[in-house]
């Protein structure tokens, strides 16, 4: 189960990396249209939430500490927030449908939240690997201290 936890959280990280790739694909597709961000939105609304839930499930099955399960759950909340930010940014236009500075400021949060989410996933993956391969006694392990849920 611990191996499965590592595999699923690796897949989640891969999905996040692809998500950034799809965002770039959307941004550079010409001409921009309704379908420009279809890969990005399908990954964000379906693939990532499903993989996150699987990560939480395998974290629990692998008997990970509560703190880690909580951390594994966090990306789901951040992804819902991510969709909300996108919705608000798209809605913040003037009457003729032109972006406003306020809307673009909100859109900027979409990128920041994405960076935060990917860091959380990296932390989950590191913790999962540590759980799968506990450091043998006598060897001092040097790792970056984790900040956890705060």
């Amino acid at each position: 189960m611990r191996k499965a936890f590592v595999v699923v959280s690796t897949l989640l990280l891969v999905a996040f990396v692809l998500q950034f790739v799809f965002a770039a694909v959307g941004a550079f597709t010409k001409p921009a249209g309704e379908g420009t961000y279809v890969l990005h939105s399908v990954t964000g609304t379906v693939v990532i939430p499903v993989l996150t839930l699987l990560t939480v499930l395998f974290a629990a099955l692998a008997k990970a500490p509560g703190r880690l399960i909580g951390l594994a759950f966090l990306p789901l909340g951040l992804v819902v927030l991510q969709a909300l930010i996108a919705m608000l940014a798209n809605a913040s236009t003037d009457a003729a449908g032109v972006s406003t500075p306020f809307g673009l400021a909100i859109a900027g949060l979409h990128a920041l939240n994405g960076i935060i989410a990917v860091h959380v996933v990296v932390a989950v993956l590191q913790a999962a690997r540590k759980l799968a391969h506990p450091a043998p006694a006598g060897v001092t392990e040097v790792t970056v201290p984790q900040r956890g849920l705060a």
Binding site: G70, L88, A95
Partner: protein, 576 residues
Amino acid sequence: MNTGSLLAADLVIAVLAAAGWLGGGAASAARRRPLALGLAGLALLATLARAITITALARAGWWFAAEKVVIAAPLSLAGVVVAGTRLLRVPGDIRSVAVPMLFAGYAGSGALLVTLLHGYPASAGVGLLAVAGIVAATAVSWRILSPRPSRTLSRAATVVAVAALVAGTGLLVPGATPAAPHDHRYQDASTVGEPTRRFTLTAGTATVRVSGRDVAAWAFNGQVPGPELTATVGDVLAVTLRNRDIARGVTLHWHGYDVPNSQDGVPGVTQAAVLPGQEFVYRFRAGQAGTYWYHTHAVSDVGVRKGLYGALVVRPAPVTGVDVTVPVHTLAGEPLPAPRVEPVEAGEPVRLRLINTDSTTHRYALAGTPFRVAAIDGYELRGPTPLVDTAVLIPAGGRYDLVFTAPATPVALFVDGRAVYSTGPMSAATDGWPVLDPLGYGVGSPAPWSRFDRKFTLVLDRGLDLRGLLPRYAHTVNGATDPDIPPHAVRLGDIVRFTIVNRSMVVHPWHLHGHHVLVLSHNRQPATGSPLWLDSFDVRPGDVWEVAFRADNPGMWANHCHNLAHTGMTLHLMYS
């Protein structure tokens, strides 16, 4: 603050409340006391603020607040009570308030998901599913966080969660879906007399040149827009539609022209799509003057965008003065039409027929002359007054006719800041101009009806659509998407009132086929200006429109959002 902003603000506050509780729970689980208490304070504040936004939304209209009052409020209240009572007696070990705070967070998140994924109307089934999720998440957290959860409590939680899950699912499983109103016994063309105007439109793939670039398009007669069809009132039109190679089929819909049902061009409803090699002849009498347009209604999302559209202009008499049609479109990212400069002699009467064939609103500004809005959606306005330095917003599918007498100096029409038509070199900053509110423009007249035989409400929203292979976050009408939206049945002669409400954060340009609707009010402000008979109007986030019409054109009519990408937002008006 308008209702649209209020909806957005309420959502943000709901997120803050849920995040505050969840973060507080996590912080207390990690024994970070000040952080936990700070986040709990934030969550309490946000919950309090939400009481205000929900009340304001309920005052704006029950549709905006229904699920927030019925589902979110009790859940948030339960969260505040459970977490609050524990926080009032803060124990030595902050960790013991972790589960109550997480519960409040799950309750807030569950309520938020109900608003986002389900919306209107609030239903017991969805509420129960939310409860199941909240109880399950709380029970799991409890097991993880407390060393020895009480057995009785665990069992009770399991029972409650499972019962709520089963009951909720049971209530949500759809009953018999209403019969899809797709009648395949299409009516025959009505007899309208011998045609006096004949046209042939051949749809096919084509390469057209836009802004110096070759673009792959779908075109009528090889051109985008298709040929402008003109007629004089009293003419009988016969338009032969041929499909050369549009594999997904084409039709012709006469946008805003209230033709007999059999000529309306809606595939699967009034006719079968015209496939490659086939043809269909549309015949109708031009009884109403004005500016209209035609477009394919088969895979209209793609077809119109790629160029299958054109203008239809019916004049009361032969042209006098300068009469210019300006169909605005975005083809492969390039704006159409190309700018046109044409000197006009001073004193000449000019009529600009502005058409928005895109799926989103455009802003039109006429600089250099006072002008009047003579007609909207083909119908002449009563007593339009001269306007100066005023912009007009035309919704997707809508038309405005602007008239003026040419001055000696140049005049220019700007669409979203781009000069599209001018009588000479001219530049003007039109960005800051006020926008005309047509509801107060022109001379009013009493409403022709005082009571309504049928009243329908359409609540536009977004929600999870699980019918397909992949779940879709669809645009919905009354909580459903095409073909599951029940049709509205009317009888010939009924006076029908529609109330159209937008709970979503997206503009929905509404378009009823076969009828023009009279605007009664917009956001509770009664229409005081010239009677507005519209076929396309923007229902913005938070908007409430009341419109009415006489059911005088029998058949099965599409009633849909004209942002053609919102394909699920189609229902039907059905004569019984």
